[in-house]
Amino acid sequence: MRPGHRKLLLGFLAACFFGQTALVYSDPTPTTPLSEEALGGARTWHANNCQSCHQIYGFGGFLGPDLTNVAARYPGTALDGWLTHVLAGTGQMPHFALDEGERAGLAAFLREVDTTGIGQARVGPGDSGGFAAGELPWWEYE
């Protein structure tokens, strides 16, 4: 391949990369920032490295379940109780000594994450946003 063609190829690839980057950064899909309480929860989530076992939108480790929409299964304050239960340590989930404020923050974080979309193709029966069997619109997961 001649040097001129190499330059063209690299130029083309660089343009693609910057185009893709621009596309991602200018994504028009509306998103909602976290509330103050949920932001505290996000910090607790990171400080305890919950994502080493859990995923949000499929991102994270796989020892535990995806938690994007766990709040949908525990509406209202039920999630707080459920969190208190699991954070005490279950079969494979270790015990985390978190205070009430941290737990409430985590619950707020998971509740707000739940409102952003569907973390897995099918997380619950219809009402929580899952698809009916045989209906998997491939380009549209939200």
Binding site: C53, Y57, Y74, Y141, E142
Partner: protein, 500 residues
């Protein structure tokens, strides 16, 4: 078989290559040890005992992924320094200073990560689980490397073989993606979980693209060195592969984001580009059959026989490429993606590619680099490549194959069960069939143990060669796979592959 005596200024460059070989092998050993512990952790009873001992999965997993990536980058970097050994000329004082700086900064970062993560100091991020302050020495080290690399490779850049370009783009990509991985430090990104994930997935895609470029460059450089044929690095196909591979590396991560609320255009592009991977697949399979044909026609030469481990490792990387492209195409087809995403299929794919493709190519490169060490320096002739080691390489592939297969299989079962029996409101988390729940951890651990065992068998031979003290005075015959004083006729084995 005597290496031409290198010029005095070559000694430092030779030492640089060796330093990166050592660093790479050390990182691999850490990754393997914590990888094995993480796999054992997935057996509930063992996880329980490990927690009692204070061993936490929250430290193991980031240690594993960080050191696995470090192994890939350092291994690639060792080969880059082997290239600089030939191209660089005398090591200038500034260059030497930057090289030392790079090594010291990275050693500091590596030790820092090894100490802080078990203490629970973490960023809590995927792949970049270390405290962000430790990113500073890593980043600074990369800049120093880029300075040195471009100082040499930049001369006559556009005429150079494709691997020079691959390493160049790989390094720039790394600098970019590493910065992007830290976007979460901006409050606007951290405070918006969707935006955070959009950026994080994009950055991870580029990160994988970056280390792939290091590895592909390594494979082509190695091929050129072994065959002595310099044309491949200049060929149109090699450049086309660079183009398609690169395009893929910054768009095909989107198969992880089909479900993320974001512009459909990004998903469409990702889907279409992913499909071009088929082209690479066809290409790879084509080259593979050509390789096999050439080998059966040409018979085994003495040198080829002495390189059995290099050949086996490189050959297996090709089969892994084919297998993993099938797996990646499956992940890219949206309805299948919906089924398997967020399950162990992703781990199977990630480890399948990093072990099957990247690690196999890098191990082949290590075998080649280690064989170059003068035997006088290593003290005794320690075999790097012999019959038992070749068998180990085959065992390594089988164990890795079993691990990757199990992860794909378990993930697929999880995905199908999750689809057929969704967990309803107020229900507990169990979506996994009981037989899988009972077997997933133990089988993972057993496959992991087997893989670990084969790695140990291999490294037991190589590590003493790599870590034998460097002696700038020692030149001469390279360490070889078999006693050099024996002629092929004297060897008992007609295949020419020596016993260890």
């Amino acid at each position: 078989m005597t290496v031409p005596a290198p010029a005095a200024d070559q000694v430092s460059r030779r030492y640089a290559t060796l330093t990166f070989v050592r660093g790479a092998l050390a990182a691999l050993m850490v990754a393997l040890a914590v990888g094995l512990l993480s796999a054992l952790y997935s057996v509930p009873a063992l996880g329980e005992s490990m927690r009692k001992l204070g061993i936490q999965f929250t430290a193991l997993r980031p240690l594993h992924t960080i050191f696995a990536s470090a192994w890939i980058f350092l291994g690639g970097m060792a080969v880059v320094h082997r290239f600089l050994q030939e191209e660089g000329g005398p090591l200038k004082p500034g260059e030497r200073l930057r090289l030392r700086g790079q090594v010291l900064l990275w050693a500091f970062a590596g030790l820092g990560i090894l100490i802080t993560l078990p203490l629970g100091i973490t960023s809590g991020r995927e792949y970049m689980g270390h405290h962000p302050l430790l990113s500073i020495p890593i980043f600074a080290g990369w800049l120093l490397f880029c300075w040195n690399y471009f100082g040499i490779a930049g001369r006559g850049f556009w005429q150079r073989p494709v691997y020079v370009m691959m390493w160049a783009v790989g390094s720039l990509f790394f600098v970019y993606t590493f910065t992007e991985q830290h976007a979460y430090l901006l409050p606007g990104v951290f405070g918006d979980p969707v935006v955070d994930r959009q950026i994080q997935w994009k950055a991870c895609g580029t990160l994988v693209g970056s280390f792939n470029l290091f590895v592909y460059g390594t494979a082509i450089f190695l091929g050129e060195k072994i065959t002595g044929d310099k044309s491949y690095g200049q060929s149109r196909t090699a450049w086309a592969l660079l183009g398609i591979g690169l395009l893929n590396s910054f768009t095909n991560y989107t198969h992880h984001t089909y479900h993320l609320p974001q512009s459909h255009l990004v998903k469409w592009i990702g889907f279409c580009v992913s499909m071009t991977e088929l082209l690479i697949l066809l290409k790879v399979v084509g080259e593979l059959s050509a390789l096999v044909r050439a080998e059966s026609e040409g018979g085994r030469t003495e040198t080829a026989a002495g390189r059995c481990v290099t050949r086996i490792l490189l050959g297996s990387a090709k089969w892994w490429t084919a297998a993993m492209l099938v797996s990646s195409i499956l992940i890219s087809v949206p309805p299948l993606n919906a089924l398997v995403h967020g399950t162990y299929v992703v781990t199977g794919h990630a480890m399948g590619t990093t072990i099957g493709i990247d690690t196999m190519i890098l191990l082949a490169a290590m075998s080649w680099l280690l064989r170059e060490r003068p035997s006088t320096e290593v003290g005794v002739r320690k075999p790097v490549d012999c019959k038992q080691i070749c068998r180990t390489a085959i065992g390594l592939n089988i164990a890795a194959g079993a691990l990757a297969f199990w992860l794909h299989f378990a993930g697929l079962v999880d995905g199908v069960t999750r689809y057929l029996h969704p967990v309803g409101a107020g229900q507990a988390f169990a979506y996994r069939p009981a037989w899988l729940q009972a077997s997933i951890g133990p089988v993972f651990a057993i496959c992991g143990l087997a893989l670990f065992g084969f790695f140990v068998m291999l490294l037991r031979r190589w590590v003493p060669v790599a870590f034998a003290p460097f002696d700038p005075e020692m030149l001469g015959e390279p360490v070889s796979g078999w006693p050099l004083e024996q002629s092929p006729e004297e060897r008992e084995d007609p295949s020419g592959i020596p016993a260890c």
